[in-house]
Subunit: 486 residues, 2 copies
């Protein structure tokens, strides 16, 4: 507790680093703080119009009841407590993977620091996985950096990139709507955020003409050097077509932009006709004119897909065509933080080196993986369908990822009230939704949206029954809200 | 592999963020890269004057054979794979802690994100631990932030602090010699590093007159706002006296400096007459004139002490007297990275909530803890003793931590050769040591030292037999080197 009079400290709101003040992260922002407060009040016996708070604000699958993959947790237990290697209840394929990981660790312990770039054999396994995923296109393990979640890799790349003053200040292109790690990192680094708008009318697809518009405008006041794309998209859930990915690569090549491809949802693809195409694969299939020239960093994580292992902070990035001297700087930079968490590295190893046909754990692994992804696909469809039955709510198909980002019509009266309160209209909407139903969603203003449009982001992660309840309450609330402000 | 002609990329050594180029981290710097290369060559069958590389460069206890604490690993296994809660071979106290941790996790899974400040019950346990450690002085769990290792907390605090331009640029005082995370973070943030020299002649103690000198000089060209102190010290191993800590607090109060107390080695105290005094405790025992006014951030970690669990990246910081608005900014800043690794948080919980008398695991836990710390104390003494038998090497007592930082006399001829090569003389020394004996130490120039003096840092972590071999080889090398350059 602060006992000094305000302003007497060395470190005050006025004397602190101003770039930190510019940072916002809506996914855990004010609405979530209010949700946590409401949970506390409920626990303390307060009476509310709802029995529980439903946190559909964050892509945390386990928190919403998704089960971990048994095999992964068996191996992690074996790595944590190698005595269990003598336990006959653990399958042999789990034991062999645990032994392999432990042998690669200093002193055969996951408590040792690893190499800063990540455990060698894990990087090799990641490279092999990428080769298999991408139809044999070679992957050099030396281009793989294990990271503390994908966020860590993204921030590290931006740190390497962002520099310059005034009109030379680095600009970074990011899709609107975006996952607010990007805007937060750009704010913290003092980079110029260059917004390119995804096309809501065309299922959140990307128009090259819009990229061009955003870039040309940005060139008047900064030095654009990178383009970030999230595919499958967060919060929008679109899965970009192969053609689109080619066009983006062509654009990046022509305009000399470093490409950052956030692909953490690569296994979360639900809609018929949609398929995940890695930027790496498409780049190389476009031939040497592109594959020798476009700088690409691709990011993956253990937090999403079918694993949902957010708390382990596992991730990697693959760096393509990075200047050798810059790569040495990158290697040096990551060495300062020593290494990513080793349990997360071990988990990533299991993701890329999962049970194969013939192995004892294969059937159960496939069963769990298929069930998890299948349930997500059902919930994606369910969410879209139900939201689209609500007058004033319009939801694009949730093609992939874990979220729905429906557009909501907010009555003029509510917009005015919000503005009087100094609040974004969709924040007013979401706050009322929270207070009246206990449902925590994140207002679209936290992700960015076309001026004059409003959205919210909800996850599709609650268990199906709870999701149905959530959706029906949202529907009820929307109708009531619309009426109340008519 | 980079196929473009040099300089054709978007991101090159000339167009990258220049502050990243200024970052150095000697603990994993060029000498370690060479050591890794030599290991590779040995594996490939190359003939060397040594059979193995001994990495005494980094404070990684498990890598050098120290065993993890059984109880901790049992609980981690239970948390990873809760099926094991049905396994009768696990003790009940391990199970009850695992259940408590799991109940605090979303969906009862350590794969869920935690609150960004850290799991609630862990923060409460940390607060309780601090109260017990500090003789009952209250600790508010809300002042506890769990972090990804101590490094993460340190960098976060510096991020909040560093701002300003020119003569207003934030200056941060750091001991020379220092742990190079500090210089690296200050370089990356573009802060002014203000060196205060520890007194080698007085066992690396801290003179307030030296602090004053450094501060007064710094005030001419920057805005000094914080003072960092590592106690027990890295690389120097000194354990500051209580009087010294009081004097530093008084100095910080008078000069209006935010104090950052890096206390990750708090259990690593070996020398008779030395005792760990936490800055928090001393601050509060100095009464409200100080305890209401000095801003203090204290850091701890799971990487050192008797745990040695570096790979888990567990840590916490306690924030005292932080302005409430700044604290809200801190909370917001840490939310962007979602949360520290949950396994590391679980581990920290076990450190602060370890087996108590009467619990089933208590005896074995104490046995392991006592043995580990006892062996470190022996090796600290051994290292000091043996190094002091070498003409031209002078080693202060290793009072605590995990390192020895002896002063080495380097002949003029070698100094000249080094300078011709553009190398620090102690780097030349350490490189030759590495090439001739396979022993990897870190030159003192990587930590900072008084002009004209040379040192190396070695860990005391290799197993006793290996340590004796290492020390005898260093002795032999030093004599040979001195002769060779006479």
């Amino acid at each position: 507790m602060c006992a000094r009079g305000a302003g007497q400290q060395v470190l005050t709101i006025d004397t602190m680093n101003p770039t930190v003040k510019k940072v916002e992260y809506a996914v855990r922002g004010p609405i979530v703080q209010r949700a946590v407060q409401l949970e506390k009040e409920l626990r303390e016996g307060a009476k509310k119009p709802f029995a529980e708070v439903i946190k559909a604000n964050i892509g945390d699958a386990h928190a919403m009841g998704q089960q971990p993959i048994t095999f992964f947790r068996q191996v992690l237990a074996l790595c944590s407590y190698p005595e269990l290697l003598n336990d006959s209840t653990f399958p042999e394929d789990a034991k062999s993977r645990a032994r392999r990981i432990l042998q690669s660790c200093g002193g055969s312990s996951i408590g040792a620091y690893s190499a800063s770039q990540g455990i060698d054999c894990v990087r090799q396994d990641v490279a092999r996985y990428i080769e298999q995923r991408d139809g044999g296109i070679p992957c050099d393990p030396d281009n793989i950096y294990l990271t503390t979640g994908a966020s860590d890799g993204i921030v590290t790349m931006l740190k390497l990139l962002v520099c310059g003053e005034g009109k030379s200040r680095t600009g970074v292109m990011i899709s609107i709507p975006q996952y607010p790690l990007y805007s937060a990192a750009l704010a913290e680094l003092g980079a110029v955020q260059i917004n390119y708008y995804l096309n809501e009318e065309k299922c959140w697809s990307l128009d090259i003409s819009e990229l061009q518009r955003a870039l040309d405008e940005a060139r008047r006041h900064c030095n654009p050097r990178a383009l970030c794309i999230i595919n499958p998209g967060n919060p929008t859930g679109q899965v970009q077509s192969r053609q689109c990915i080619e066009d983006v690569i062509r654009f990046a090549a022509k305009e000399r932009l470093l490409l950052m491809a956030d692909e953490v949802y690569q296994d979360n693809v639900y809609a018929d006709g949609c398929k995940f195409h890695s930027f790496k694969k498409v780049l190389f299939e476009m031939g040497p004119e592109f594959s020798n020239n476009v700088e690409l960093a691709s990011f993956h994580s253990t937090s999403k897909c079918y694993m949902g292992e957010c708390g382990f902070r596992g991730g990697y990035m693959e760096i393509i065509n990075m200047d050798a001297e810059v790569k040495a700087q990158l290697t040096k930079l990551v060495s300062v933080r020593l290494c990513p968490p080793v349990p997360g590295q071990a988990l990533m190893d299991l993701v890329v080196n999962c049970p194969q046909p013939g192995e004892p754990s294969y059937n159960n692994f496939m069963k769990e993986r298929t069930a998890t992804l299948g349930v997500l696909a059902e919930k994606a469809k369910l969410t879209e369908q139900i939201l689209n039955t609500v007058p004033g709510i319009s939801c694009n198909p949730v093609q992939g990822a874990m979220y729905s980002f429906p557009r909501i019509t907010i009555p003029e009266k509510a917009i005015r009230e919000a503005k009087e309160k100094g609040q974004a209209p969709d924040m007013l909407y979401c706050m009322k939704l929270l207070e009246e139903t206990g449902i925590c969603l994140v207002p679209g203003s936290g992700f960015g949206q076309k001026e004059g449009t409003y959205h919210f982001r909800m996850t599709i992660l609650p268990a199906t029954d709870k999701l149905k309840i959530l959706l029906s309450k949202v529907k009820e609330f929307h109708q009531k809200f619309t009426q109340q402000y008519s």
